[in-house]
């Protein structure tokens, strides 16, 4: 089955809908209002052991509205864009706004800060939703995994996914911005077995442009390599050791830091980086910054969730906090201007003293190389950090054997200060981009 889709054909309809919703809010007595409307169309398909297993088509539309009644606010959302549903949804938001309590920080963003120019960020590369093409790619990917090593005995499948989205944000200051995006991905989950049991691992490629995806065979082979490498893992003794995060797991460190510098946790006093603006909180080599206007990336956007213009900025530079990540609302709560981060960050990147990735092993000498993390053992209020991990034991700068069933623990404030070096191997997939990160020491608990 092949469906030719171009979601841009619905962009005008969605913009008209956004306008109608704002008008309905005004008619209902809202002093200000904002709305986002989105539409997604997609195909997800999975092949397992060479056979097509699932084909899923989705078509979703939804809108979210926030209305302001003076200093009170109310919100409502629905998947139904009929006229009746719009009326009812707006009425529900207005009803809620009559019952919430006044908050002087409520309201739209300052009109002077709203994005005026909307550059083309190269986010839309449509291809037909074609089950035959997607099946062939997933089959090639999984087959390459199976043929890479005979210890690959099973598969949880290779999944190909393709989608198009269109999003409109509009508010009663007269701002209306919209953009269409595409997203393609191909992933593979394999299972290997030897005399000591089964292990699983995966690999994936994702990009807005289908031409930028890794070739299917490469994804399958990488998944197979990673899976086989985990066979016959050992437990290790409990102790304090250097820990090297690979780029996939290091991404989570960047996420914990930006969460702690975000408006909500800061004004709720629920962050381990409270009152840290200007303070040195990390190793001096550390830089954490966002690049919203990079073409073609997953996090690229010319305006944030308030319609405020985005710009490149550092959150941490030379180890010191240079900016929080704030929306118009959280900014007012903290007495600071918005940073254009309503809804989150855009292409967040972590960098340090860049060392070739292979040299990081030499620099570590002896310690734990972490390639997988499990669980949610991170306390954002205190910074206490204790997570399940798996990876490899390193001696004399060389990988010795796979390790499993360990935890790594420390306080995030100490982890940030103990960053010794970072790699040149940034994982470019997704909105948060990190290289390998070497931490001087953490407590590694093992059962051996």
């Amino acid at each position: 089955m092949r469906r030719e889709v171009d979601i841009r054909q619905q962009e005008e309809e969605l913009r008209t809908l956004a306008g109608a919703i704002l008008q309905e809010a005004r008619r209902g007595g809202a002093s200000a209002a904002e709305v986002s409307v989105s539409q997604d169309i997609g195909l997800t398909l999975k092949v397992r052991k060479g056979e097509l297993e699932t084909v899923e088509f989705n078509a979703d539309r939804g809108f979210d509205i926030s209305v302001h009644n003076g200093r009170r606010t109310g919100a409502a959302s629905t998947s139904d864009s009929s006229e009746d549903a719009i009326r009812e949804t707006v009425a529900r938001a207005l009803d809620i706004a009559r019952h919430t309590q006044e908050d002087p920080c409520n309201g739209l963003a300052d009109p002077a800060l709203l994005a005026r120019r909307l550059p083309d960020l190269d986010l839309f590369h449509p291809i037909p939703l074609d089950t035959e093409v997607a099946t062939a790619a997933a089959q090639a990917c999984e087959a390459a995994g199976f043929s890479h090593d005979r210890r690959i005995v099973n598969s949880e499948g290779a999944e190909a996914s393709s989608s198009q989205s269109c999003t409109v944000y509009a508010n009663s200051h007269g701002f209306m911005g919209s953009y269409a995006t595409t997203s393609q991905s191909l992933s593979c989950v394999l299972i290997a077995e030897d005399g000591n049991g089964m292990q699983r691992d995966y690999w994936y490629s994702a990009d807005r442009n289908p031409k930028a995806l890794e070739v299917p065979e490469q994804i399958g082979r990488t998944a197979a390599q990673r899976t086989v490498a985990r066979l016959s893992p050992r437990k290790i003794a409990t102790g304090e050791h250097p820990v090297l995060y690979d780029p996939q797991t290091a991404r989570s460190l960047a996420r914990h830091v930006i969460a702690a510098l975000s408006g909500g946790p800061l004004y709720r006093k629920a962050s381990f980086l409270l009152d840290s603006l200007g303070a040195e909180v990390a190793s001096r080599q550390l830089r954490l910054f966002e690049q919203p206007l990079l073409p073609g990336r997953f996090g690229s956007a010319a305006f944030d969730g308030d319609g405020v213009v985005t710009a490149e900025k550092a959150f941490i530079d030379a180890g010191a906090v240079r900016s929080y990540a704030l929306s118009a609302y959280s900014g007012r709560r903290l007495g600071l201007p918005t940073t254009g981060n309503a809804g989150g960050v855009h292409n967040l990147r972590l960098e340090g003293k860049t060392t070739p990735a292979e040299a990081l092993f030499k620099e570590m000498g002896r310690g734990l190389y972490v390639t997988d993390l499990m669980g949610q053992g991170v306390n954002q209020v205190t910074g206490d950090y204790s997570r399940g991990a798996a990876g490899f034991w390193v001696e004399n700068g060389e990988v010795q054997y796979p390790v499993h069933e360990v935890t790594i623990a420390a306080n995030l404030k100490d982890i940030l200060r103990r960053i010794v070096a970072t790699g040149d191997d940034h994982d470019q997939r997704g909105n948060v981009i990190a290289p390998s990160v070497l931490i001087e020491r953490m407590t590694v608990a093992g059962g051996a």
Partner: protein
Amino acid sequence: MSGLVAVAEATLLGPADLCRQDVEKALGRLAAAGADLGEAFFQSRKSESWALEDGKVKHGSFSVDRGVGVRAVSGEKTGAAYVEDIRPQGFKSAVEAACAIVRSGASQEAQALQAQVVQPIYEGVNPIPTLGQGDKVALLSRIDRAARRMDNRVQEVSVHLSLSFETVLVMATDGVLAADARPMARLGVSVIVVEGKRRESGYAGGGGRRDLSAFSHNWPEELAQEAVRCAAVNLDAVEAPAGAMPVVLGPGWPGVLLHEAVGHGLEGDFNRKGASAFANRIGEQVASPACTVIDDGTLPNRRGSLSIDDEGTPTQPTVLIENGTLVGYMQDKLNAKLMGAAATGNGRRQSYAHQPMPRMTNTFMQPGAYDPQEIIAACPKGIYAVNFGGGQVDITSGRFVFSTTEAYLIEKGKVTQPIRGATLIGNGPEVMTRVSMVGNNLALDEGVGVCGKEGQTVPVGVGQPTLLVDEITVGGTSA
């Protein structure tokens, strides 16, 4: 149940200009295309939430989602299409897309729809309007005041109330015609306490498939008190130990152990595919003889309960492990058929826009013989963990983790100091064989659990009595 079907048809089909005959025709189309199982799942979900912070109810939101998921299953293959537009044209396009995968199959016939008689285990009452908007705001404010009154170290209080009501209608080529009306309420309180330079958080929450009037009069104050108590305990927490040691788990929510260590590994799909550490082990000893583990979707008003699952199969108590022996898996229709087993009422989906798969409902361990105090006294040195955040499992290797939010040292058989949060890691089949004492105090959790699998979340429950695990790795910082 036939009354429920009529209500669901009026709610879901009527406004979309569809009627039962249209759906029957579509099921005939799916069968003719070669589907062993063709199914239409219609759903409408209304939800409302209110949030208090900084002493004021500042945020409230309402949402309504509606749509249909159409499936055509042929052997191991599934074609599915999800649309929020239930009207004839949207529905028809979904049916055609779902057929795409089964085109090669032999033509079949759909069985006549037959409404099932199932006794609902909760009242099909929408909880959203059972309390006025002003009363909801007042409820949240009452909790805020209670928390601040209890302890002057309380600096921040956040309260979150969410209420939802879901109507589902399932029609399938195997003759299933079923509907359900599902209420859900959840109330949660988070506090931050400050003493000197220490800042700690505490959380308490609860809920279930009922409206708010069903909860006790002083429940809001009890939640506030519990949240403040948890936070205050952690102000005195010392570094957690690191390494393998005995762990006593408290009753109730620590049952997240079972959910991670055995629950996911016993879902039918992973076992059919041979991807689980428990695959092909029915009849084997996989836990100590003290362990009997059950998944039961029929417990009245529990958060994980359902009258019928999302494929229209009535829920049931399913024994997974009996006196340490693996006796059963949790099944949806597809995996049950392929494994030659019966569906167990565990076919669940996050919404119409997701595929059903085997999922847990309420998973718990039967009580044993020991007094909880005896169990602690039997542990010379270890930790006593009474509250947890979340967990995760790798079902293939059996490795799982869960993270404490309230735990204490046990020294010489006595509970002593509180310790900072630590992740516990182990291997499911190994850890279950090390459960050496099971208490007589089975408790179920308070009703806030959410389980994630392959990107889909569903509400679940867990429970267990106090139990002793002889050895598990504790991920503290004090080596």
